[in-house]
């Protein structure tokens, strides 16, 4: 049986202000109904004024998703009554969206993007104990892009992979934080099953607030439809809501309850014109996208695919890596240090990537790589540097952590060890070679671990 999935994604744009007024677009965690003004509250007589930055971010996203951007698009009113929608309509885009005909490649499969359009977010209902709800309109008017895919996704796992890939792209181009738990990235899915090339009856699944939920909910619905079809039942065209705690999808509304949104052109806004010059300017301002970066790294750095995947996951990490490699061009070593130690340290509460510049980090990696400080010391320095204001160089120098490679100095200390451990020396000379380890240990404790172990072994064997 063939599964067909299409996604409808809403992404909040990281603009300073809302889509049609001067209120902050950063509404999260604010006291209810404090992040509002007459315009976003839809008070009588107010009018929307389009935020140009939101258009720019929308175009960035559309370009990153390989879309075509028509020269003209327009806004429309989507009419429905709901307490979190103060005007009684949402300003959206209907038949002339911002962008069309894009695609995103996921694990070698091309998922086509039907359209990308701009619209305003609604508020939130907070269901209270007792028989009522409160309305919080802080979020009303926050700019969104809606991204609609073609039904090209074949499995729930691929839907999840698509969402992860999309989030990565949106974060790379810095238009969306991509936080599904906070609702800054939301996903609704349409899914249908069929035995042949005809599309089956689809159902819509909503309320999936994590990547895991996208996968789980679609697996649930896939199984449910499969069972129904196998038992000769008809799949009804319904909308379901995912409950992540119970891991089940529940009926929200049937087809009969579907809205007629009565879209018509928004008369308060003039059509949106995006000329070629602006489009090109935005295109040129786009950073290197994840796929391009991966390809280049494989060529330039010869890193294993796994390393590339991990290090390009977010742009900040990728940039940090590249800047470090520019200072110390040993990509695999830098990669190892980042994937093991930096990632470990970053989980500590006080850790900040900004505490250590790539140049300083490169210095430390090189020091360890050259054997000038031992690996364990380097790890300690790294942890301290990322969790404090001190640079690795300061820490290494202040504490005199560099290895002692000065043969004279090592010899001096070895003489002391030989004098102080006559019994052991005797044992060694009688053929017990294991004792050498003990003697080196003694040397290390005298030098606080800084003696170059290879040199120490060499000199010690000579002396004995």
């Amino acid at each position: 049986m063939r599964t067909v999935i299409g996604l409808e994604i809403h992404a909040q744009l990281l603009t300073d202000t809302k889509l049609f007024c001067d209120c902050s677009a950063d509404y999260f965690g604010k006291e209810p109904n404090t992040n509002t003004c007459p315009v976003c509250l839809g008070m009588p007589g107010t009018l929307p004024v389009l935020n140009e930055r939101a258009v720019e971010y929308g175009v960035r996203a559309a370009l990153a998703l390989n879309c075509e951007i028509p020269e003209r698009s327009k806004f429309d009113r989507k009419n429905y009554f709901y307490p979190d929608l103060p005007k009684g309509y949402q300003i959206s885009q209907f038949d002339e969206p911002l962008a069309v005909h894009g695609h995103l490649e996921v694990n070698g499969n091309v998922i086509r993007i039907r359209r990308v359009h701009l619209e305003e977010d609604a508020g939130k209902l907070i269901h209270q104990a007792g028989n009522y709800s409160s309305v919080d309109l802080n979020r009303v008017g926050v700019p969104l892009i809606e991204i609609v895919t073609e039904p090209d996704i074949q499995t729930p796992e691929e839907a999840r992979a698509f969402m992860e890939k999309l989030r990565q792209a949106l974060r790379y181009i810095e238009v969306c934080s991509g936080d599904m738990e906070k609702g800054s990235l939301r996903c609704d899915a349409n899914i249908s099953l069929s035995e042949d090339d005809e599309l089956g009856t689809k159902t819509e699944v909503k309320n999936m607030n994590s990547f895991r939920a996208v996968e789980k909910a679609l697996q649930f619905e896939q199984k449910r439809q499969k069972r129904a079809l196998n038992e000769g039942e008809k799949v009804e065209q319904v909308t379901l809501g995912w409950n992540a705690d119970k891991e089940e999808a529940k009926l929200m509304r049937s087809k009969e309850e579907a809205h007629d949104y009565r879209y018509f052109p928004e008369p308060d806004l003039v059509p949106l014109k995006i000329d070629e010059a602006w489009k090109e300017e935005i295109r040129e301002g786009l950073p290197e996208l994840p796929d391009e970066k991966r390809e280049r790294w494989a060529d330039e750095y010869g890193l294993p695919e796994y390393d590339i995947d991990v290090l390009t996951e977010d742009k900040k990490t990728a940039t940090y890596f590249e800047e470090t490699v520019a200072e110390y061009s040993s990509p695999k070593t830098v990669s190892n240090w980042m994937m093991s130690e930096v990632f470990r340290v970053m989980k500590l509460p006080e850790a900040e990537l900004e505490n250590v510049t790539p140049t300083e980090f490169a210095y430390l990696v090189k020091l360890a790589d050259d054997g000038e400080i031992n690996n364990n010391t380097a790890k300690e320095v790294l942890e301290e540097a990322f969790t404090s204001e001190d640079s690795p160089k300061d820490i290494v120098e202040e504490r005199g952590l560099k290895r002692i490679s000065d043969e004279g100095l090592i010899e001096e200390k070895i003489e002391e060890v030989i004098t102080e451990n006559e019994d052991a020396v005797e044992d060694y000379r009688n053929g017990n070679e294991k004792v050498l380890g003990f003697l080196i240990g003694q040397l290390m404790s005298k030098t606080k671990g800084k003696a170059d172990p290879n040199k120490a072994r060499e000199i010690l064997q000579e002396k004995l």
Binding site: P38, L41, G42, M43, P44, G45, T46, L47, P48, V49, L50, R77, N79, F81, P83, P86, K87, G88, Y89, V135, D260, R262, Y263, F264, P267, D268, L269, V270
Partner: protein, 463 residues
Amino acid sequence: MHELIDLLEEDPGKIEDLIDSLYDSIEKTDGEVQAYLETADKEPLLAEAREKAERPLKGVPGTIKDNIQTLGFKTTCASRFLEDYDSVYDATVIKLLNEAGSPVLGKVNMDEFAMGSSTENSYFQTTRNPNDLTRVPGGSSGGSAAAVAADEAIYALGSDTGGSVRHPAAFCGVVGLKPTYGLVSRYGLTAFASSLDQIGPITKDVYDAALLLNVIAEQDEMDSTSAANPAVDYSDGIDRGVEGLKVGFPEEYFGDELDERIQDKAERWKETFEDIGAEIVDISLPHTEYAIATYYLISSSEASANLARFDGVRYTSRADTESIDELFSKSRDEGFGAEVKRRILLGTYALSAGYYDEYYGKAQKARRLIKGDFDDAFAEIDLIAAPTSPTPAFKIGEKIEDPLEMYLSDVFIVPINLAGIPAMSIPAGEVQGLPVGMQLMGESLSEELILRAGYAFENAFTG
């Protein structure tokens, strides 16, 4: 108003007499005329007027239609829904008037949400025509026109979606100007039909209309549809006359529906134009017959969305109900009057899936044809003159039970809004003691020409 401004220029102390006389006249006549819904307290208004004595309008106060947001006043739109709604900000026009030295005297009656042609659709009161108290003042800015005609206001602002400034101006015998769509900011005008709405002045004479347009015509960053201000001084050069101007009289505006007495008057209008050196040209606006249907489809469709915000959730009156759907429907059932409901239903229907192309879509096409008529006409002539209304003021109650009949009285005024062009109604004679209005129309942003021609006509016309 312009005489008063001159007077106050010489003697600013006269502002007290002026304001006294306004309050006297409101007290004396508004009991019968019923124009005002709310007036400012006299002492604070006088203090405000004195403060503004140095500004261009010298503290002369204005009277505002009750769908324009005005701090310190309610903005009820003459609806039960907004009976207790206090304005939370000033409309751009109110800001501009304040800056120019004109405080607000009061808010006046209208058809509920500006839907109507008689001011009978107010939830609060029925305004009467000061020329004959048994007749309507026209609408929907009936309160604005009646207040000016009854000397209860120096000037008033109205709003004109399908003739709502010009129609009552004609019925009451005053001047009413609907500017080009976008010339005056709509920010703060409670929306009826966003692609048609425009605020305009209602005044005693053409010169006053020019003075007010100087103040309120300004591009506004709060209104994306507002036009670049052509920076014209509308009063300067208003007396330059109309020598050589071609004035078109459209045959479609002189058909059977036109009152014969007004038909006769129109002959006098032509003579007057010829007397002042204009040339009369017979023209045709062939798609005029589609204007009423087109207008009611487009305006009602937009209204159905614009009025959706009145849902009982936030600032409006709320019905006591158990469920949210009931809250919406019952609040709206109780809050809106019959005419408003009729238009919301019409608009909702016209936008519905399966009917959109047939109604809203077709209306948009017809709108382009109607606009095309005017474009064609203005390629040949400078201005168009026609009656504002097919009849003089009708009796209170005469048409209120027959919506279609009421809609048809808008036949000469709605095409102008559909085309987005400016038009001005000026007093042009009387029939049996009732004023008749003549409408001058021009191409987009031709207010300067319309005002100049209106001024010349006003001075030359002898009834």
